[in-house]
């Protein structure tokens, strides 16, 4: 046999932890803009961050695994209720409440995942709606625990790290939420590039091919759902802590549908897509709803139609394509 010349593929040039650093710095920069330029809107921006966790969570199952779901608010709501109830019953430390939210969200995620990822396509979608509605119905019926339709109120968490009080301008709540977002986002950036995360994207592309390389799909999807539940639980707990109330809206179908819209808007399958979608949708809603409370949904609908036509894979795609082009130009020069 003739000698084989093996040409090595050059390494992809990348700075270690470069992406993570860029992610953290970008979020901090965005946060700083909000904090210093819009000090009166911090309560709104804190709510936005809470929802961002839910959209990121949805991105993990929908964008990265291809699971169709319209019941994802369940994860968020269960986290919110768990943290809220724990607080009302005596746990005051915000970090501990966060842990409660994460734990509850994870359990809810694993249960939902175990049910929903058994199926594919339309049955899966319908089942996700059913799970979401079941949780919403429970939140309503168990009013001795959840406050039912009045909502759960009287959530008064203690100081963050025993130092920072939650103030009426939401400064502490905002900075606390932002800090948690930075940590979770950086962890997720590594997570989606890990062997596990990559395999999930593979499963999304072609699950028969994945099985034909020896992957058992179901346990992986359930596990991913657990991770997504944890992330949504963070958002739920943060929202409960920062607003002091948890209402039925946090587990509602509308919430599930809205976050799906945000994800599609920003670009499913990219963490930045999830963030961008949340920011754009919520700020748009905030401004338009204030200007014209009756027709804001019409405008949102219009915006969506435009985006589906001009950027069907989300707003982040053209931005990423631009970055890639600049990078190629940079390395060619």
């Amino acid at each position: 046999m003739s000698e084989i010349v093996v040409t090595r593929v050059p390494h992809k040039r990348s700075i270690p932890f470069g992406q993570e650093a860029a992610g953290a710095l970008s979020i901090i920069a965005l946060g700083a803009i909000g904090y210093f330029l819009y000090p009166d809107d911090l309560a709104f921006l804190t709510r936005l961050i809470g929802i961002a966790f839910l959209v990121l969570s949805l991105d993990l199952v929908t964008g990265y695994c291809g699971v169709a779901t319209l019941g994802h608010a369940a994860q968020f709501g269960v986290g919110a209720y768990a943290a809220g109830i724990a607080c009302v019953r005596g746990i005051a430390d915000p970090v501990a409440l966060l842990a409660v939210g994460v734990f509850a969200g994870t359990i809810m995620g694993l249960i939902s995942g175990a049910l929903i990822t058994r199926f594919r396509g339309l049955p899966q979608l319908v089942l996700s709606i059913a799970v979401g509605q079941l949780v919403a119905a429970l939140a309503n019926k168990l009013s001795w625990l959840t406050g039912g339709s009045d909502g759960l109120s009287g959530i008064t968490p203690g100081k963050v790290f025993g130092i920072f009080n939650f103030d009426m301008y939401s400064r502490t709540a905002f900075l606390f939420s932002l800090g948690v977002l930075v940590i979770v986002f950086v962890l997720l950036q590594r997570f989606v590039r890990s062997p596990f995360g990559l395999m999930c994207r593979g499963i999304k592309d072609d699950d028969l091919r994945a099985r034909m390389i020896g992957v058992s799909i179901y346990p992986r999807l359930v596990l991913m759902y657990g991770v997504a539940g944890a992330v949504a639980g963070v958002g739920g707990a943060l929202t409960a802590i920062s607003t002091g109330v948890v209402g039925l809206d946090s587990v509602s179908f509308e919430r599930s549908a809205e976050v799906l819209v945000m994800l599609v808007l920003g670009g499913a399958g990219h963490l930045w897509g999830a963030l961008a979608g949340t920011i754009i949708f919520m700020i748009f809603e905030h401004i338009v709803a204030a200007a014209n409370p009756f027709h804001w949904m019409t405008l949102v609908g219009l915006l969506l139609i435009l985006i589906v036509i001009f950027a069907p894979r989300g707003l982040i795609e053209p931005v990423l394509a631009l970055f890639a082009r600049l990078k190629r130009k940079g390395s060619a020069a």
Partner: protein
């Protein structure tokens, strides 16, 4: 020593159509077998049956003496049963390197790591970069599969199969759609495989069959109608009638 793979009286029908009829064969260590037959003979269906993609109506499969008829697809792969697809099935939105890396990582049982960067793991990298350069795909490593030409995608099918280090490798028309000057790479890759694994290749190109196979199985209308050496195949009357026809005559003429 027991056979690596055995099919025992396997049948399968779709509706009223009998696509696989009472098929029996064995693959032993070191086998290089070609499975040939006319279009629609049921060759791909047979591979689908072996890998568990579809279940047989009757009959059993064994690997190394253990029955595998009822175990799942991934479990069969973990036992070393690997296939490539006739119509490519790849992770279309991932890069070529990621496609192969996933197969390597799955084989090495490291896809449950959560926080290390997947494709650039040194032990994984070394392996996919070698496989890709053997197949002439190294320059495409960081391109998305979906952006590539069909012939290149076909080679990735093979790359994934090789990355899984199979004991039994089933290749469904690996050369179909591959440009002519690239095709020899397929045979080279197969020749580099460990001698003690069994390879079954479905192939229409008889030149390739003659270069590759030491044994030929002929399938027609779901039945194995012939088994023998490549030279006997062209001589066999029934095979010529069912399939080879012009090819055998042409060969004789030269």
């Amino acid at each position: 020593m027991s056979d690596l793979l055995e099919a025992r009286a396997v049948s399968r029908s779709f509706g009223g159509l009998q696509v696989t009829c009472d098929v029996n064969f064995k693959l032993a260590a070191g086998d290089r077998v070609a499975l040939i037959g006319p279009n629609g003979a049921g060759k791909t269906t047979l591979v689908n049956l072996i890998t568990g993609d579809i279940a047989p109506s009757e009959g059993q499969f064994f690997m190394g003496g253990d029955e595998i008829t009822d175990i799942s697809i991934p479990d069969r792969v973990r036992r070393g049963l690997v296939r490539t697809f006739q119509t490519t099935r790849l992770f279309a939105n991932l890069t070529v390197a990621d496609n192969v890396a996933l197969a390597i990582m799955q084989r090495k049982r490291i896809t449950r790591r959560f926080f290390s960067s997947a494709t650039e793991l040194p032990e994984v990298r070394a392996e996919w970069s070698e496989i890709l350069s053997h197949l002439g795909l190294d320059r495409l490593a960081y391109r998305k599969v979906i952006e590539l030409a069909y012939g290149q995608q076909r080679l990735i099918e093979l790359a994934i199969g090789l990355a899984l280090r199979p004991k039994v490798l089933l290749l469904d028309e690996p050369a179909a759609g591959v440009p002519h000057d690239e095709a020899p790479k397929i045979l080279e890759a197969i020749n580099r495989l460990p001698a003690d694994i069994a390879v079954l290749m479905i192939e229409h190109d008889m030149d390739l069959v003659f270069k590759f196979a030491r044994r030929v199985l002929v399938l027609a209308a779901g039945r194995l109608i012939f088994e023998g050496s490549p030279d006997d195949v062209t001589a066999d009357h029934e095979v010529r009638r069912a399939y080879l026809g012009s090819y055998a005559d042409a060969r004789r003429a030269t």
